[in-house]
Symmetry: C2
Subunit: 282 residues, 2 copies
């Protein structure tokens, strides 16, 4: 009798069919090791950034040179502004850059083309169109054909002085609150945090209005920043992103834009709220 | 000579003219004391919430009864999910509600009318129109005439079980990351944090996926929640909001949608990135 009941239950048990918006095995693609920037903070806290090598090549090249020169080792996260950004690098902003590192890089506020694999179907925010590129980056464009990486929570951008050309990549920031469209085409997007975001977002806020932490001892030290490709092969953390060049990702966007009942929804989704999944390579 | 130079400098000194988007004195209006919810955490951390008494009246009435019964005193902030929400109340979700408090309140996912003082001019996110009400709340509407308070960073919403009618206000949450449109018309918005947001947003994250902190000792205790109107008159913190029923607020939205050069901007702004200023009454 027990056997029969068990068999009955087994037959009745719901089979976990994948939803139309679940990733298939082939949707997971490797992130190259030289696009994986690893920032170690004290207390076993590691922040991992995926660099946008194809979409901000000049800045990423400079950032790789900064990493090779050990630029961030011993520097700090020195600015944590509530509902704005966490920022790291040289708090004095006066230290000489290592030789071979460009002091300024031509702005990469825009990208060459707008060919997202998956567009948001609804009129999304602030732009003519937005969507997710095949390799998993959020982009937007205007009616004049300009296209750009959008700033979202966890995006990594290049801090700079007043002149738009004054950014080198030596000072980086990530939004830790409401994403703000006025950052778009104003600061170069060079990556996004793919692991350990909570070690930046949950830092105690610096004093208003700018969140700069005046006391060096109160800043969060950066032990070291490395590229995964600089580590011995067997020590590299390896990551995969979920590619957007498939019907399952299109279904994911549709699902976010039209959540299932009883949720009414708002008839759309922000480009920044489409989940851009990354996982450790199984 | 020194006098002449000083005079010259005084004449040359830029006069700090207000910008067209700066608030005028008459734009600052009092928030009624019975709409000011004060949550005290240990270590002199105080979180202040403005209650949306006019737009979610049934829930706010219930919340006032919960405050009067001391519901949150001794409870905790027991859920802190990275890039999602901080949530507080009874972690067991089993404690009996005080007498006189409704166990569930008819959903107030929408508001009766959409009459914002200032609309966002561009096609903004996810909806036919969005804007800021005269008294400083972000709202959106669809093409069918439905209107609702939008969830933004710092908005206070009512947690609930599966049935949409199952929320009482006893469990509250606030988004601490990217605002998500699928919360809209799904959870009742009852207020927004106007002071001390950093004491919720910078809390250590609970474990994934839900951020619920299993160890009661690791949760953040709530010492007491009170209404300002329950305090002696001379002990009440008093707040003013910036009203949106004026050309200066319209100029503010325009400024956010069209940032000054050299910023290119994206040609728009999200309803959640329009600053809704609140200040202590001078």
């Amino acid at each position: 009798m027990t056997l029969i009941v068990s068999l009955f239950l087994a037959l009745q048990a719901p089979v976990a069919l994948p939803a139309p918006h679940d990733a298939a095995a082939q949707d997971w693609r490797a992130i190259p090791d030289d696009e994986v920037m690893i920032m170690r903070l004290p207390g076993d806290r590691t922040v991992v950034v995926r660099l946008a090598a194809a979409l901000a090549p000049a800045h990423v090249a400079n950032i790789r040179r900064l990493i090779a020169a050990g630029w961030w080792n011993g520097e700090t996260v020195y600015r944590v502004q509530e509902n704005w950004v966490a920022q790291w690098g040289d708090a004095t902003e006066k230290r000489a850059l290592p030789s071979g590192v460009a002091a300024s890089v031509a702005p990469e506020f825009e990208i060459a083309r707008f060919a997202p694999a998956q567009r948001l179907m609804r009129a999304d925010t602030h732009s003519a169109a937005s969507g997710i590129t095949a390799d998993g980056w959020p982009v937007a464009s205007d009616r004049q054909g300009h296209a750009w990486l959008t700033h979202c929570y966890g995006t990594v951008g290049v801090a700079r002085d007043e002149p738009p050309t004054s950014g080198s990549g030596a000072e980086l920031f990530t939004p830790i609150g409401q994403s703000a469209r006025r950052l778009d085409r104003n600061y170069a997007v060079v990556g996004r945090v793919i692991e350990g975001m909570q070690y930046l977002s949950a830092l105690p806020r610096g004093p208003a209005p700018m969140g700069v932490i005046a006391d060096p001892g109160a800043r969060t030290p950066i032990l070291a920043v490395t590229l995964a490709s600089d580590l011995p092969a067997d020590m590299r953390p390896r990551f995969q992103y979920r590619a957007a060049d498939n019907v399952r990702f299109a279904a994911l966007i549709h699902h976010r834009e039209n959540p299932p009942a009883p949720t009414i929804g708002s008839g759309g989704a922000d480009v920044c709220e489409i989940p851009l999944e990354v996982r450790r390579t199984p």
